[in-house]
Amino acid sequence: MSQSNDILKGNYKIPDVEQKIEKPEDKQDSLEQEFEAKALKALGGSITFVKKKGSFIWKGEDKQ
C-alpha cells in the first residue's frame, strides 16, 4: 500500500484501506480485550499501591 501511495501522487491522500477496514476478528479481539479489562478491574485489590524508595510517608515536600 505504501508503494502505491508513492507512485500515485495526486492532490488527495489515498486512504490506507488495510488500516481503515475493520476485520471481524479485530472486532472480536477488541471485545475480548474490553471484557478482560473489565473482569481484571473487578479482580483488583483494595487500594492503589505505589512505593517510593526510602520512605513510606510523604508530607508534601517540594519536588526533587
Binding site: 485489590g45 492503589t48 499501591f49 510517608i57 508534601g60
Partner: protein, 347 residues
C-alpha cells in the same frame, strides 16, 4: 506458580488502580467536612510513649481458627493493638478493645466496608453473600442481621476508646460510623502515584487537603503494619490473622474473588487462577488467588525497607520469607509481655 495466576498477579497493581481510584478520589471530596487531625498528630503523640511493640490484627481465616485474642489478653501485653477494619468486630466480641482501627478501602462496587463497623442500613442494602461465603467466623456469620446488630452495639459502646486511622479514600458511610460511635479520627491520603511526576494525582490530592500521604501495600492489613512502624514508630510488630491465602481444602466458591475469576476464565479454568504453596513453618500447603499473591509479593518487598522487626504470628497462611520472623504468637508474647495480667478486658 500457575501461569494464569502469575499473569494476573502482574496486572494487579494496574487493576487495583482502575478499580479503586475514581471512588477513592470521590470519597476524599465527600469526607472533606470531617478532616481535622492527621496521622502526624498520632506520630507526635506515640513517639513520646515508651511502647516499642505492637500487634496488628487482620481478618484472615487464622483469626477464628487460632483465636489469638485469648492469648494476647492472658499475656498482659502492654503494646499497641492495631486492628484492620475487618477484624474490629472479632476483637470487640472477644473482649479486646483495640487502640487503633485502620480503614482505607473505597469499596466502589458495594457498600461492604461499613459492615465491619456495624451497618445501621443493612436491611435496606441489596443482597450480598460476600460475608457468608468467606471463611470469616462461621458461627458468628450464620445470622447476619443479629451479628450486625451486636456489632453496632459494641462499636457504639467502645468507639470512644478507639482511634480511627482513616484514609481519605474511605467510604463516607464508614466515616459517619466512626464519627457517630465516638472514635477520634486521624486522616491520611493513600499514595496514588509518584508525587514527583508532572500531573501527579497524589500531589493534587495533597494540595487540596494538606493531609500526609502513605504507601498502602494494596490492602488494609499491610496499611496497618505500615502505620505501626512508619507512623507510630513501633520497632517490634507482630501480625496475627495475616494469612494472605486460603487454608487447604477451602472450596473455591469460598474464596474472595471466585465470581470475578469465573467471569474472567470460566468455571472450567477457574482453578488455574490459584497458586498452591507449601509453608514449611506450618507444614501445610495453602493457596492464593492473584490478589493475595500480589499482596504477599508487595509485603515482602516493603519488609526490606521497614524500620522494624516483623513477626508473623498468624500460625497459618503464606506470608513467610526474608525479613519476616515466622514464629508462634506465644513466643512473641513471652518475649514482649511484662506481666501475666488480663489487658483491656471490658466487653
Amino acid at each position: 506458580m500457575s501461569n494464569i495466576c502469575d499473569k494476573l498477579s502482574r496486572h494487579m497493581a494496574e487493576a487495583t488502580t482502575f478499580k479503586s481510584l475514581d471512588a477513592a478520589l470521590s470519597n476524599a471530596e465527600k469526607n472533606k467536612s470531617f478532616y481535622g487531625k492527621t496521622i502526624l498528630d498520632l506520630a507526635e503523640a506515640s513517639h513520646k510513649e515508651l511502647k516499642r511493640e505492637a500487634i496488628v490484627i487482620v481478618g484472615g481465616p487464622s483469626l477464628h481458627r487460632k483465636n489469638p485474642v485469648d492469648k494476647i489478653m492472658a499475656s498482659g501485653f502492654q503494646g499497641d493493638i492495631i486492628t484492620a477494619d475487618g477484624s474490629l468486630g472479632y476483637c470487640l466480641r472477644n473482649g479486646l478493645i483495640p487502640d487503633y482501627v485502620v480503614t482505607v478501602d473505597p469499596n466502589p462496587f458495594a457498600n461492604r466496608i461499613v459492615r465491619w463497623f456495624g451497618d445501621p442500613d443493612l436491611e435496606s442494602r441489596p443482597e450480598d453473600d460476600y460475608f457468608r461465603r468467606q471463611d470469616l467466623d462461621p458461627e458468628h456469620w450464620k445470622n447476619e442481621i443479629r451479628a450486625n446488630s451486636e456489632l453496632i452495639e459494641l462499636v457504639n459502646k467502645y468507639g470512644c476508646r478507639i482511634k480511627a486511622v482513616i484514609a481519605t479514600s474511605a467510604h463516607p458511610d464508614v466515616t459517619k460510623r466512626c464519627v457517630d460511635s465516638g472514635m477520634a479520627l486521624y486522616w491520611w491520603n493513600p499514595l496514588y502515584d509518584d508525587y514527583d511526576q508532572p500531573g501527579s494525582i497524589t500531589r493534587r490530592v495533597f494540595e487540596s487537603n494538606r493531609i500526609p500521604c502513605l504507601t498502602t501495600g494494596g490492602n488494609v492489613g499491610t496499611s496497618a503494619w505500615i502505620i505501626a512502624h512508619a507512623i507510630l514508630g513501633r520497632k517490634n510488630i507482630a501480625l496475627v490473622g495475616m494469612d494472605l491465602g486460603y487454608p487447604p481444602g477451602t472450596p473455591l466458591l469460598n474464596t474472595q474473588y471466585y465470581y470475578e475469576l469465573v467471569e474472567l476464565l470460566g468455571k472450567e479454568k477457574v482453578a488455574e487462577a490459584f497458586v498452591h504453596t507449601y509453608n514449611p513453618h506450618i507444614k501445610e500447603t495453602w493457596f492464593a488467588d492473584p490478589a493475595y499473591n500480589w499482596y504477599r509479593e508487595v509485603f515482602l518487598e516493603l519488609a526490606k525497607e521497614a524500620d522494624c522487626t516483623t513477626y508473623n504470628c498468624t500460625e497459618g497462611g503464606l506470608l513467610f520469607g526474608e525479613n519476616i520472623n515466622f514464629i508462634p504468637l506465644a513466643e512473641f508474647l513471652s518475649k514482649f509481655s511484662s506481666e501475666p495480667a488480663v489487658k483491656k478486658a471490658g466487653v
